[in-house]
């Protein structure tokens, strides 16, 4: 049809569309590599015995990396808001204080079976290595999201 002769984006040079298509078709090798590395790290870290030096290092190492990134430059992917609605934020504050209070109340009672803390509820799940590895992976990704929002 005659419409085929009309350029869809007359203000753009013809080569640009081709470049974009090629870029989209590029295999995301770097991301896959980083993802595989994080999964492997999580699996290895999940295999460490609690209360040992290796278990501590498995947490401190990513902590140091994230801290260095955060100290060096602030998050830039999504600009941080200059102000937030105090009333709106208060809902979050109430929930977080309630969570801390609920946890502290259980902790004060020595986290007995009839009044367990959140930690006492989660710890048995973390005895299963795949679950612990998944937890560590989520923790690593959340740390990355905090410094690279």
């Amino acid at each position: 049809m005659a419409a085929d002769d009309v350029p869809r984006w007359p203000d753009r040079p013809p080569g640009r569309i081709r470049v974009r298509v090629r870029a989209r078709g590029r295999p995301p090798g770097r991301k896959v590599l980083i993802g595989a590395g994080l999964v492997a790290y999580s699996w290895i870290a999940a295999g460490t015995v609690p209360f040992t030096r290796n278990a501590l290092l498995a947490v401190l190492l990513p902590g140091a990396v994230v801290a260095a990134l955060a100290y060096g430059r602030p998050a830039r992917r999504i600009p941080s808001p200059e102000r937030i609605d105090v009333a709106g934020f208060s809902y979050w504050a109430v929930c977080i204080i309630a969570l801390v209070e609920w946890e502290a109340a259980a902790f004060r009672d020595n986290s007995l079976w009839w009044h367990p803390s959140l930690t006492a509820l989660i710890d048995p799940m973390l005895d299963v290595r795949p679950v612990k590895a998944a937890g560590i992976l989520v923790w690593l990704l959340s740390g990355w999201a905090l410094v690279r929002r």
């Binding site: 870290a45 999940a46 460490t48 609690p50 209360f51 278990a55 501590l56 498995a58 947490v59 990513p62 902590g63 994230v66 801290a67 955060a70 100290y71 602030p74 998050a75 999504i78 600009p79 941080s80 808001p81 200059e82 102000r83 937030i84 609605d85 009333a87 709106g88 934020f89 809902y91 979050w92 929930c95 977080i96 309630a98 969570l99 609920w102 259980a106 079976w113 009839w114 009044h115 367990p116 959140l118 930690t119 509820l121 989660i122 710890d123 973390l126 612990k132 937890g135 560590i136 923790w139 959340s142 740390g143 905090l146 410094v147 929002r149």
Partner: protein, 66 residues
């Protein structure tokens, strides 16, 4: 038994409320900030970044290292 169930229900209710707040915050024109928005706001100054990241590090240490 009832006390244990009540305790667990309390945790579940608070965590559910946090998800509801995130959902409400994502609605157009909402006054409730999303988790990302208020964390971003708190993390604007370097001291805020340090505080939040120390909390993140503590969570990792508490659940995965001990």
């Amino acid at each position: 038994m009832v006390t244990r169930v009540l305790t667990i229900a309390g945790f579940a209710a608070i965590i559910l409320a946090l998800f509801v707040l995130e959902f409400l915050g994502r609605r157009k024109g909402s006054r409730i900030p999303t988790l990302g928005e208020w964390l971003g706001y708190v993390m604007r100054p370097r001291a805020g970044r340090l505080l939040i990241l120390l909390g993140w590090l503590w969570l990792g240490w508490h659940y995965f290292s001990r």
